[in-house]
Amino acid sequence: MSDILALAPRFGSNSGQSLTRRDGVAKVTGTATFAADNHPDGLLYAVYVPATIARGTVTHLDVAAAKAHPGVVEVITPENRPPLAGDPDSKPFMFAFRFEALQNNTVRYANQPIALVLAETFEAATEGARLLNPLYDAQQPRMGLDGDAPFTPESGGLGLPGTTVHGDIDAGHAASAQDIDVTYETPEQYHNAMETHAVVAQWNGDHVTLDIPSQAIVMQRGAFGYYFGIPPENVTIRSPYLGGGFGSKAIINGPQILAILAARMTGRPVKLMLSRDQMFGPSGHRGATRQRLRIGIDTDHRMTVLDHNSLATTSTFDTFVESAANASQGLYAAGALRSAHQGVRIDAGTPGPVRAPGEAPGSAALECAMDEMAYKAGIDPLEFRLKNYAETEPGTGKPYSSKALRDCYAQGAARFGWAGRPLAPRQMTDENGMLVGWGMGTALFAAPMFAAQARAVLRPDGTGLVETAASDMGQGAWTALAQIAADSLGLPMDRIEFRSGTSDLPDAGIAGGSAHTATAGGALHAAGTDAIRRLAELATGDPDSPLYGAGNAGVIARDGRLHARDDDTRSESFADIITRAGGAEVEGKGSASRTAEASAAHAMYSHGAVFAEVKVDPDLFQIRVTRLVGAFAAGRIINPKLTESQLMGGMIWGISFALHEEARFDQRTGRIMNADLAGYHIPVNADVSGLEVITVHEDDPHVNPLGIKGVGEIGITGTVGAIGNAIWHATGTRVRHFPIRIPDLLTGA
């Protein structure tokens, strides 16, 4: 931790305060501008035509009919689509996936774009798209986890999880006194951010301006430049607000490229906004998984083996295998540990990162399997987890940078009232005769960092400017990052200007991996510290300053003034220092990332414990989550209010995973049967009550200089298992697939 923060931890400290969102007023008054809210003059509307088969070729499009519709300006098909500089089927950089931009007539999955219609109005474009009436040569699609022979992906990189083994798996099985061998399945899930993918593209010569929600603003600038054959600096991305991202808005997709191409082709600005059903196709999803877990324990209930194998769906033309089995790395102290992955190629779009990629389905299966093992062993599920508490990272033996999981278990259990829970299922009812069940699960999410840069400027009037191209998709970057930046400059919040959300600013890295606050915040902190260091040089080297001779290490920044550390009466305002030095702005630069040495030295995770109560109707088997208590330790909390919201949102995603979400594919046609928000269920307000979040204190001196881990994704993990286990505890029926629905309990399947 820096001198500045260490020596003035609370005075004037913005971090740690539950400030309301700085973008709050804009968001409640409708003035926050999302991508599709932009409306440049001369705008054309684009609507893409989605394939209604999952495998085959397009043989005919009635272009004449579409073009004849009043208002239709252009129809783009593979016949007339202008060339791209970058091949959509290449994978030129990390986070690049193959996509469809009308490079040929092939259909690789349902809902991929097969044409783009441009019109003067949205209504005309929509009708034009309908009039294209595609004809196909369709083939039988390969669907589901048994749709093709499994393959083992090569490991290394995004969506390529490979196999990890620690210890002797066979010996671990042989040494077990009791064991279980269970298989869990999870379905395809789609991000369904409330804001569908949208872009407004405007070309000016060979420069393009894109209003587009982006989870990786500077990285995507280079990526878009690659596909259009222009340098990154010729791409301006404006992404001040994202209407949710959840992983889908870090990766470039075909419809975006087509809209940008259409703008260049027509010489007019183009707006494309995907319809809700089009969100079920070209913009990624979570693949289905089938996970086999074998756990063995000795007579003392210690795990001799944890053997987690996952099969996941991916596409026929690219590979992203959900890293579900990796959820078993890093958590329980099993004698032998294996995480193995296989993929199966089906005729669906390529999966991608969805909030808590790997960990969400992996944790769901693992935490339920742990519950099954505990019940078989005849011990309390929390006690079983404590029995197998990992003091160092299992397998690697690395120390944790910090791990307050015991506190999470204790505080969560106390708050929930876990003590006295009967071990056997179907023991509790409420006053209305509802079956009551309690379940728990451990939450775990890695605390990675990407790389970020930032700039901080102290102005002659004593105010500060800080900037980095961060993405706020709801996690609160506009607020939390500004809190960090203000502290780094020793200024109150209202005396800094925070610029963010556009590509002409320093690279803030990717808003993903629950790492954005740590990474971008780390860079802002470093930049502010650098600016203060330069300011201190000016003051301490100036005989006219009361701080003259105090030395660099002897000065701290506080509330817009530098103070001598050993004599608080010696101080001078930023404005006076800068003005006397000639009035030039003082600029600091900073960056943040994690070194290989730091990664090698410690295992770094956020931890948590989730406790669930469900009530199940004994006759109708309706399921209600009536209480959900999550206790999480995630290092330093910058803004408790926003953190609580993030964690609750994650826990509700857990409810959704456990009880609601599932894309259902028609096995004959390969089309998704519930590609809308009426059929693809996510929780509504009435599904959510009795939610409580506890943030457990945790100091982490190793994870990064600010001690920040992440909170964006961990809420899902633990929660799904806790709910599944509670349903079993209420009913005695162990359901080994998600979502758990009424028929599962009726049939006892």
Binding site: T20, R21, D23, G24, V25, A26, K27, V28, T29, G30, T31, A32, T33, F34, A36, D37, H39, T121, F122, E123, A124, T126, E127, N192, A193, M194, E195, T196, Y241, L242, G243, G244, G245, M273, S275, R276, D472, M473, G474, Q475, G476, L642, S645, Q646, M648, G649, I652, W653, S656, D676, L677, A678, I682, V684, N685, A686, D687, V688, S689, L691
Partner: protein
């Protein structure tokens, strides 16, 4: 063929002409009247992001054809605050963190204003949750939303009581 309707939007009465009977109120607001605060989340009445008040009632503007609204009084998120003074529901959403990304928020707030005006839910959280369940929030800020509506409903009831006293 073009259509002209007389519409009051956020207190301003105006004649609105458009060329297409297929135009929804949502697209009229967003693409023709420069009021993009109202959001499109599904365009088929399943998510509530496009909720506005028409003659005081909350409706899905994506399911309402503009041509049917001759003479109607429409209130959108842009028309709720009085200058810099937020409507109690807006203020309450900020205070209780009733949103994250903010995309469904205009619809949530208009729905909450409509719900409170309907007068059926009082300050019963369970009924508020039910009454707000036509408005999806994928960030899942439901806890804050419920708290915000509850708080605003209380404040507005208190205000009314004070005024009538």
């Amino acid at each position: 063929m073009s259509y002209t309707i007389s519409l009051t939007v956020n207190g301003d009465r105006r004649d609105v002409t458009f060329e297409d009977a297929r135009v929804t109120l949502l697209d009229l607001l967003r693409e023709r009247l420069a009021l993009p605060g109202t959001k499109k989340g599904c365009d088929r009445g399943q998510c509530g992001a496009c909720t506005v008040l028409v003659d005081g009632r909350r409706i899905n503007s994506c399911l309402t054809l503009a041509v049917t609204l001759d003479g109607a009084d429409v209130t959108t998120i842009e028309g709720l605050a009085r200058g810099d003074v937020l409507h109690p529901v807006q203020a309450s959403f900020v205070e209780h963190d009733g949103f994250q990304c903010g995309y469904c928020t205009p619809g949530q707030i208009m729905s909450a204003v409509g719900l409170i005006a309907e007068g059926d839910v009082g300050t019963d959280p369970e009924r508020i949750r039910e009454g707000m369940s036509g408005n999806l929030c994928r960030c899942a800020a439901y806890h804050g939303i419920t708290e915000a509506v509850l708080d605003a409903a209380r404040r507005m009831t208190d205000d009314k009581t004070r005024k009538s006293a």
